[in-house]
Amino acid sequence: MLSKRIIPCLDVHEGRVVKGTNFVQLRDAGDPVELAALYDKEGADELIFLDITASSDKRETMVEVVRRTAEQVFIPFTIGGGLRTIEDIRRMLRAGADKIALNTSAVQNPRLIQEGAHAFGSQCIVVAVDARSTAPGKWEVYIHGGRTATGKDVLEWVEEAEALGAGEILLTSMDRDGTKAGYELELTRAVSRAVSLPVIASGGVGTLEHLAEGLTLGEADAVLAASIFHYKEYSIEEAKRYLSEQGILVRPC
């Protein structure tokens, strides 16, 4: 049967991992490729690189990171951040990325989802949604890294994204992000039920219990986490062992 996925997320700025890492076995804790290869070895199911480089003229650095990653990492990996055109997408896929994540650019130009899916297949188009609660059972889509409200309803937007050809939804709760209070389960479940695409839960994970809740009560297909893995609070193996004990099917490390 299909297993649930655990996906570490790496924030990359000008070719370097920015959130701290406590991996003593790394020669260079700031090198995203070395960290990615370690996560592959430890049993991560996929990886996501989020390029937070502000200026687009430094974006070539990320293409180089992707190229080097493809030489050493043999699990699927996704690139997000600052991809605005079909050409941007093509460059990342050609460099060796398996999927790309669109956020702000997809909201501003939904046709990009359609064109990307048509040119490269839905399987490589992930739509990343930053959601903030506005009322009980209502969430609004935010863009520009969570700084700009769009007036778009999250559930309507994910349905539109699916219709346009998105292959997966990466759902981040802005209310929970960085809080370590757990995923926003009601939001995650609502999105999982609104679309028939795989949903990756993100934002708020602080414990292994949170991972399990995201997959069971949140009905997500995959869980994304950054700090709990980067700071070695838990290893991938510990996370998988815990999930397995909870009766959740995961790929053994």
């Binding site: 049967m1 299909l2 592959d40 493809a70 050493q72 043999f74 896929l93 490269f120 292959g167």
Partner: protein, 209 residues
């Protein structure tokens, strides 16, 4: 030397790097003339069935690939490259495939999430050289919305379960097809590519004598 068919579909770089990682010489081939110098061949692919067949046709690949497969040299189709080995694909209407294996490619029944995306385990149905040293229920990475239904049970070497039990690894003589992505299925996928590379080396050694 293992050739990878570049017909504009699929993540060639991943397949190339994975084979290099396990120690094999690889060549990405942009024209059918290059087929002559290779001992083994990989046909990758993502996207739609008809679109892939059209791209193979446009590139003049169909006859050379068919001849290669019939020459006895090891040949492996991956994902969509596996599906087009069959006679007919039902994605967006009925379309002819390469017809190297008898059977059709059909859509997952409604109910589950499509595409089938993620890590699923293989049930080994019969031993074969590609599965050597790979334990039963090892996990591999899949991304697909359609699956192959071979006519002959003897062509199925491993299955996987996604609501329906479907053919995950198929083969006949020197022709192999993997529905999953071995190049993205560390560590067992790399073992499978190692096994394929060995078949290629064995063939090359045998034919040079």
């Amino acid at each position: 030397m293992i050739g990878i068919v570049d017909y504009g579909r699929g993540n060639l770089r991943s397949v190339e790097k994975a084979l290099e990682k396990v120690g094999f010489e690889v060549k990405i081939m942009t024209s059918p003339e290059e087929l002559r110098g290779v001992d083994g061949l990989i046909l990758p692919g993502v996207g739609a069935f008809a679109d892939a067949m059209e791209a193979l046709k446009q590139g003049g690949w169909i006859l050379p690939i068919t001849q290669f497969a019939r020459s006895g040299r090891p040949f492996l189709g991956i994902c969509l490259g596996m599906q087009v080995l069959f006679e007919i694909g039902e994605e967006h209407g009925e379309h002819a495939g390469l017809g190297l294996l008898p059977g059709r490619v059909v859509k997952f029944p409604p109910g589950g999430k499509v595409p089938h995306m993620g890590w699923n385990s293989l049930n080994l149905e019969q031993p074969c050289p590609l599965l050597e040293q790979i334990p039963n229920e090892s996990f591999f990475y899949f991304v697909h919305s359609y699956y192959a239904e071979p006519n002959e049970k003897s062509d199925i070497f491993a299955t996987s379960d996604y609501g329906v039990v479907f053919a995950a690894l198929v083969g006949r003589d020197n022709i192999w097809g993997a529905q999953f992505h071995p190049e993205k299925s560390s560590p067992w996928g790399l073992q499978l590519l190692t096994n394929f590379g060995k078949l290629v080396n064995d063939y090359a050694t045998l034919s040079s004598h």
